[in-house]
Amino acid sequence: MSPEGVEGSDLLHGAILYLDGITVSFDGFRALDGLSLTIDRGELRCIIGANGAGKSTMMDVVTGKTRPDAGVAFFDRHHDLLAMSEADIAMAGIGRKFQKPTVFTNLTVRTNLELAMRDDRSVWRSLRARLDGEQRDRIEETLESIGLHLLADADAGTLSHGQKQWLEIGMLLMQDPKLLLVDEPVAGMTHQETERTAELLVSLAGGRSVVVVEHDMEFVRSIARRVTVLHEGRLLAEGDMESVQNDPRVVEVYLGTPC
């Protein structure tokens, strides 16, 4: 199905990601309930919502991990995400940082970056792949920008939680995706690290689109232009930080309750 055939497809004009009517049920429980969401090219979007609101599940749908019961999902005009495998979605240009950082614990930090690097992923190539000078430089640059250059040859399994978060962000950078999905990037980070993450994410937006899920409201406030609030699998409110904060429904279900 092409996006042109979808009702309201004009929304896709200029949009990098288009979700409409996405419904996901787990044993009858609706984790996502007719969720519709559009992310524009170059946009930095924050998604907030209470625990269990469906934020990670939304990312699961976009990356092909979970198949929805209903709805449509298009990426970059012509990619029908619901018909693609996880690997194809990643190669089309969607990168993801998971809520729980997963790095390859028995490989070095440098190798983690090497494997994430955008490159031919075929078996045949991998047997003969050698890093060229440019690729080596990119890895060094990334090591530098995630502050792990001194640990480049340490096994990723020996990193602290915060360092693993950084490594995951570094892997995203190496992947060089058009759309980054970043699930709770600053959990376990110190105040300074959080600030650096904020800077990094802001600098990434523009060239590419970034979707950030985060509970840390101060962090969200510091980076957000547009905020989407999810509640029980539905879109509750959307707008700039101020209007969302003052929305009585949001105050009631989310911001009103301490978190």
């Binding site: 990356t63 991990k65 495998s85 996880e86 690997a87 194809d88 990643a90 190669m91 993801r96 998971f98 997963t102 790095v103 390859f104 614990t105 028995n106 490989l107 070095t108 190798t111 090497e114 494997l115 994430a116 992923r121 075929s122 078996v123 991998s126 047997l127 003969r128 792949a129 001194l150 640990l151 040859d153 340490a154 096994d155 020996t158 892997m171 992947q175």
Partner: protein, 365 residues
């Protein structure tokens, strides 16, 4: 900084292991023929043909263990059916050796092996065609196990069968083949298998020089396979395998078709196991369905675990040492071997999680 130092020590050590393994095998290639063929029989240094064949058998098992370590140690695929690839390679070699017998069988039929005459078969089944040719038979040694690994792996990895489920279906695979090869109608000699071989490439299989030749061939094939698999695991392909072992899902979200990587590692492993079987059969002089026994496949995983998985050289060390112990122990108390093996496995996992070779590299670190 210390981790950088560790890394270089580790890589230098890995280099040492390559040198040790290929060096030891290279020395065996030079020394064994001298001790067996030129040192006179009375001398204390003389190596009997029996011992040469025993050593050759150990090297076949080492090759098989290497195959298992490639998929289990590096990619986390715990195959409990690798005995099947070994046996198929062995049968392909056995079929060649049967055809070499010619009219020297008990029934003197120039075309049909004895067991077919006994079953009153009139002509050679089509799947025996070509096995009188050595090159064709060697191609089958590679192709049959390789094809089985390809087809099996294609279905298993595409449908994302993992962990214990995969281990169970590999056991089922080898068990199914065991039952099939037991049947006389299959045309592989049923219960008795293939035996009474006379010659390989015109060389008398009973001759000392032939036995030594087979040992040398096995050692050279082991060196070559070790070098190839070391190259494979040191390439980016090898790093992808390790990453799949650690977090397969994550690799998919990075854009890797993990099933393809697993499949080709599995095929290479199946081929190496098949070659090991083909080298084994002329040395022991028989191949029968017993080689498909599920227990065999479990045993060889234990060799790898004891030697140290995910290292390659550990698999070789484990296979040789455990089988040496087995030979020695079954001479003393044949019934108790399985208990000893079980005990070795349990103690190994408890006290040597990185295997025997882990002991060495830990101390050096």
């Amino acid at each position: 900084m210390t981790s950088v130092a560790n890394r270089t020590v580790a890589s230098r050590l890995a280099g040492h292991h390559d040198l040790l393994v290929t060096g030891a095998l290279g020395i065996a290639v030079l020394v064994v023929p001298i001790l067996a063929l030129t040192v006179p029989e009375g001398s204390a240094l003389h190596l009997s043909t029996f011992s040469v064949t025993l050593l050759g058998k150990y090297l076949c098992f080492a090759l098989l263990a290497l195959a298992v370590d490639l998929v289990w140690g590096y990619c986390g695929i715990l195959s409990l059916g690798h005995g099947a690839f070994f046996a198929l390679g062995g049968y392909a070699m056995g079929m060649y050796l049967m055809r070499q017998i010619g009219d020297r069988g008990v029934y003197g039929n120039p075309i049909l092996p004895d067991f077919m005459v006994f079953l009153d078969w009139q002509e050679l089944p089509w799947y025996w065609w070509g096995f009188s040719s050595f090159p064709f038979s060697m191609a089958m040694v590679v192709a049959v196990p390789g094809l089985l690994a390809l087809v099996f792996g294609w279905f298993a990895f595409r449908s994302r069968v993992n962990g214990v489920y995969l281990s169970i279906i590999t056991q089922a695979l080898t068990y199914a083949l065991l039952l099939a090869f037991f049947r006389n109608e299959m045309g592989f000699g049923g219960n008795n298998g293939l035996t009474d071989f006379k010659e390989i490439l015109g060389f008398d299989l009973q001759a000392d020089a032939t036995r030594v030749g087979l040992f040398v061939t096995t050692a050279l094939v082991l060196i070559a396979s070790y070098t190839v698999t070391r190259g494979v695991v040191s390439s980016r392909f090898g790093r992808v395998l390790v990453a799949i072992r650690d977090a397969e899902d994550r690799m998919r979200f990075l854009g890797y078709r993990t099933e393809h990587y697993k499949l080709w590692a599995f095929v290479l492993s199946g081929v190496i196991a098949g070659v090991a079987g083909a080298l084994y059969v002329p040395q022991v002089g028989i191949i029968n369905p017993g080689e498909f026994a599920p227990l065999n496949s479990i045993e060889l995983v234990i060799w790898v675990a004891i030697g140290g998985r995910g290292t390659l050289h550990g698999a070789i060390v484990g296979a040789i040492l455990v089988n040496f112990a087995k030979t020695w122990f079954t001479g003393l108390l044949p019934e108790a071997w399985l208990f000893v093996l079980g005990a070795l496995f349990v103690m190994g996992t408890l006290f040597l999680p990185r295997g025997l070779v882990g002991l060495v590299s830990r101390r050096e670190r």
